[in-house]
Symmetry: C2
Subunit: 249 residues, 2 copies
């Protein structure tokens, strides 16, 4: 067993569960974490319901090195993430003087109303996640990072967060595709998986205008082993009569 850090993502928002909004934050966060050698192990999506957020947060933060949340930190009544985070950690929440000052400087006189002041409510003991896209900060408490749901703001917050994270050994990845049904090469692929039990081999069929085929992906922390597995996959595909192509991962 290694001590490479693990992570979970918690997406908060009725708009994802209703199908109104297509979540794209998860795949972005996954790729950013991957580049630091941090394994994303689980994702959950819950609605704007405090008890659900608290329960999911506590389940995930006890289990993984890091939890990243998106959504629910704006000025409106349905933005309840900061309160839920405070509740999950069993701490109070109050207006943060520095955030009040930052937000106060952002708005014209008379426009810094009570609802906008809500964005300065930070769980006690938390640190701020500053970002270039929004004056309102994200929140860092314990092993939890709380971000906005708007993708551009979430990404700016990730920029601030990434340098704070403990890195793991990088996960290397090689992808080989061929125009062949995955069922035809499944047995040979399983044998390669047995030879490379330190790697994860995935098989992903594709259906495109130019025909169908399969992408075979080798992932693992030893670059030489990943490359050896990719070569074994290419050789296997040739033997099976299909022309392999290395795909940029």
């Amino acid at each position: 067993m290694s001590d490479d850090p693990t992570a979970a993502v918690l997406i908060i928002g009725d708009e994802i569960l209703s199908g109104r909004t297509q979540d794209t934050n998860t795949s972005y966060i996954a790729r950013m974490l991957g580049a630091l050698g941090i394994d994303l192990r689980e994702v959950r999506v819950v609605g704007d319901v405090e008890d659900e957020i608290v329960a999911a947060l506590n389940a995930l933060r006890s289990r993984y090195s890091y939890v990243f949340t998106t959504g629910g930190i704006g000025p409106t009544h349905d933005d309840i993430t900061a309160d839920a985070v405070a509740k999950a950690f069993g701490v109070g929440i109050d207006y943060h003087p520095e955030v009040l000052a930052m937000l106060g400087a952002r708005y014209k006189p008379g426009e810094f109303n009570e609802m906008r002041k809500r964005m300065a409510r930070i769980p006690l003991g938390a640190e701020l996640v500053r970002n270039s896209a929004s004056v309102a900060p994200g929140i860092h408490i314990g092993n939890v990072y709380v971000m906005a749901g708007v993708p551009a703001i979430m990404r700016a917050m990730m920029e601030d967060i990434l340098p704070r994270l403990r890195r793991g050994r990088l996960v290397h990845c090689a992808t080989v595709e061929a125009p062949i049904a995955e069922g035809r090469i499944a047995e040979a692929l399983m044998k390669i998986q047995q030879d490379f039990s330190d790697l994860a081999l995935g098989s992903y069929p594709y259906y495109r205008e130019d025909g169908f085929g399969v992408q075979l992906v080798a992932r693992g922390r030893d670059a030489a082993r990943v490359e050896a597995a990719a070569l074994a996959i290419e050789a296997m595909l040739c033997v099976q009569g299909a022309q392999p192509t290395r795909v940029k991962s």
Copy 2:
């Protein structure tokens, strides 16, 4: 409290957690369920790890009326969903004679190999989810529906599943947008939420080439109340000096 059915989605696959594949199945399933009055309450994504699939499945199936899984039912070694489902339900798993026959008829002589036969392994007591996109079926056991991860196949399976589901009262939805910062209307919106406590009002800022603004969404099971809330939101936006536009939801 009503007895409108609830649902969870469980996405199974390393490729989602690595960020390699953008999940689009969730939003499709969400919209299909919404059209039947079934509330999607939670989504989880787990990797190709049997214990994780079993634990998530058992947590979700005990809590919601229905669970829909996608991914992991193909012929390759990383397709372990059927076994995990059997384990979660504490039942055996075996080759299903009818599926063996269907699959056997699909392949040329000699091509129906052992790995392809894996797709005929069905948990004992389960029903089949037939579909127009793939001879390999999905699985229905208890309150759980097991589908393919490939979107076109998942959608074909949903076609077979939808008529089997208990319907709830439809959720109606109205969306009003205006070119105004959500922080400026947050207090007035909260008051409308208080007047319409039987509805869920959501506030979603947007940032587009033509400027920023906010979409305000009213959702609920009483169409007249949703329309009344939308009218109240439009009137409020006018009072706040912003021109409301009704958006097709």
